[in-house]
Each structure stands twice: as C-alpha cells, then as structure tokens.
Amino acid sequence: MKLVLAAESGQVHLTSQTRIVAAVIAIFFMLMILELIRRDRLQERYSVIWFIAGLGMLAGAAFPGLLEVVANLMGVRNTNVALFSLVLLGLLGLALNFSVIMSRQAAQITRLAQERAIEKAQRQAAEQRNGSGSSGEQTLKSEEQSL
C-alpha cells in the first residue's frame, strides 16, 4: 500500500505584496492590544492570547515556508485550507474560553448581589429585634438613597 503524501505538490500562494500587508496588519493588531491595555480597557491576563495570535500572524507573513510545514504535518495539500482550519479551530477554542469566563463571572455577580441583599435583610432583622421597626425602615431607606 502506497501512502499518499497530501503535500506532495505543496504550493504557497503568498505574494510579497500580501506578505507585507499581513505583516502590517499583525503589527497594527499588536499595537492596538498594547493601547487597550494602556487605557485599562483590556486586562493583561486576557491579552496574552491575542499577542500570541499577533505573533503567529507576523511569523506567517515573514516566513511563508512555515505554513507549508504546518500543512505538511496536517496532511493537507492546500496551505490555505490548513491556515483557515487552524484559525477556525483557534477561534472556536477562544469562544469557548470566553463562555467559561462569562459563566464564572455571572456566578460571581449573582453571589455578590445575594450577599448584599442578605446583609441588608439581616440588618433589618436586627433592627426589628431591637424593637424599633419603624426607625429601621427609615435607616434602610436613607441608605438606599445614599447608594
């Protein structure tokens, strides 16, 4: 049985023009990430993955041969297919990662809201026990206004 090597006729379609455009986009992308961090719009821990993506883009533009190597490893004849499927898989993973982060934050927000509600109810209960039911309402109301 003869193994068929998919990448036997590997072709790289990147012209130097597209390579320059890709490199410029990658550099702009990373500068944008830096700027977002600088303005506190993006936290460092969420920026690492985007820097890796930017570096990957830059590497692909600088050394198109890399893509061919990757396509070879994947057993894909067309390097474009290799590139697109890798990027798609990466984005899928990233989207899932964000869903996980979102779920965690939703749980944290809920717990925060619950803690606050419970604290206020406990204060109301303590005030009722002290026999000053009506003044208790007053303090609660004024507190709400100050918040």
């Binding site: 509600a117 419970i118 109810a121 406990q122 209960a125 009722q128």
Partner: protein
C-alpha cells in the same frame, strides 16, 4: 425550633401582602423573608409595610438565584428549618405548615409539596394543569424518576420545606436556569432524604403562564440536557472538601 419562610417575588405587589398575611396566620412563629428578585414595582415597599423582612436583589437574577438567596439567608442566620412558597397566591400557607412538620419530625431533609400526587384531594377552584403542561409534566416526571430512581410526581413545585443539610447544599449549588428539577436530582444524589407530600394548590389568580407550545418544547429540551449533565456531576461533593 427557629423557622424561616421565604417567598421569591418578582413584581408581585398585587399578591405579596396577602401571601404574607396567610403565612403569618398559618405559621405565627416563623420569620418571613421576601426575596425581591429585582422588582421594578412596589413589591419591596409592600413587604416592609407588612412588617416582613425583605432581601432585595439589585437586578432580576431568575428564580434559582432568588431561592438560593433564601437558603443562604436561612443558613447564615442559623434557622433550623426553612420553607418557601410562590408569591402569586397559588400556595396555601397551611399546606406549607404541613411540609414543615415533616422536616421538624426529621422524617425527611427536603419535602416537596406535590399537586399531582395521588393523595392530593381536588376541590373546586383547585389547580388543574393544561394539556401542553401535562405533557411536560409527564416527561420530566419520567426522566427525573429514571435519574434518581425515586418516584416524583410534581417536579417543578415551588413549595418546599428543608432542614440545615439542604440549606448548606443549596446555598452552594443551585442551578440558576433550571432550579426546581436539578435541585431534586442534586439532593437525591447527595444522599439526602427527599419526600413528596400531596398538597392542595389554587388556580393562579391573575396573569397567564408564559408557556407557548414552542417554548414548552424548548423548556423540555433544556430540562433534559440539564438532567443528563447532572447525572455526570460528582456525588457527595461535600465529602471531598
């Protein structure tokens, strides 16, 4: 024995005062807490006027989060038993008292008030489910029974009584999306004694159910996914910690 009755309420200014009065009459010893789930109407004011405690969530979080707030409050404030009922007036408070009696006698950790249990007596003005609702009910009943190997008739009942073991569990783990069913599965899987008691429930006074056929189908599908996932959750998570 210190008892807390809590009532999750979302924009229920019309009925919450009546429900509080009803609970006071049936359970004069119990403290009453209304968990106001981000109401935009005067629910919280009505509750304060009625002299009951109110825990206001700053924004609407869904029934699961509201119920969990009640369990957490009961746990933190050292109550021996707690119960909850709906704020729309469908649940008579004397039935809640019967559930609490089961918990007080330590015959169960968690007691569910069931509309459909064969022992429930039907009277005029009592709750009668619609056709599409009956389908959903039987589907959930079948799968929950399969998942827990325990017979449940009313899987979505919002009338329950519980002791401290349940409070400790539910204040940590309570699904915000599919609270009623998943919590039963969780409690049984954690080895708690869950029991159903036939109760009378009334027809809802105002408003209609939110369920359309499409929504019902989606609701059922979501419920089945939740149950399936729940089967793969670790047992006795408390013991591991």
């Amino acid at each position: 024995m210190r008892t807390l009755v809590f009532i999750p309420a979302w924009n229920e200014e019309a009925s919450v005062t009546t429900v509080i009065a009803d609970v006071r009459k049936a359970l004069p010893e119990a403290d009453i807490l209304v968990v106001d789930d981000g109401s935009t109407d005067a629910t919280a004011e009505r509750v304060r006027e009625a002299g009951a405690l109110v825990a206001s969530l700053p924004f609407n979080q869904g029934l699961g989060a509201a119920l969990q707030t009640g369990y957490l409050y009961a746990l933190r404030s050292g109550y021996d038993a707690c119960a909850h009922l709906d704020a729309d007036g469908q649940h008579p408070a004397e039935e809640v008292a019967r559930l609490l009696a089961e918990v007080a006698a330590d015959r169960a950790d968690l007691v569910i008030g069931s509309r459909y249990h064969s022992g429930a007596v039907a009277a005029s003005g009592d709750y009668k489910p619609t056709f599409s609702r009956r389908i959903g009910i039987s589907v959930f009943r079948f799968f929950l029974t399969l998942a827990t190997r325990q017979r449940f008739t009313d899987t979505t009942s919002g009338m329950r009584a519980a002791n401290r073991r349940v409070m400790a569990l539910f204040s940590e783990h309570y699904s915000p999306d599919f609270a009623e069913i998943e919590s039963l599965q969780l409690a049984v899987r954690q080895g708690l004694r869950v029991e159903e008691l036939p109760v009378r429930m009334l027809e809802r006074v105002g408003g209609t159910s939110f369920l359309t056929p499409l929504r019902s189908a989606f609701f059922i599908f979501k419920g089945l996914v939740v149950l399936l996932v729940g089967q793969f959750r670790p047992r006795h998570a408390e013991a591991e910690r």
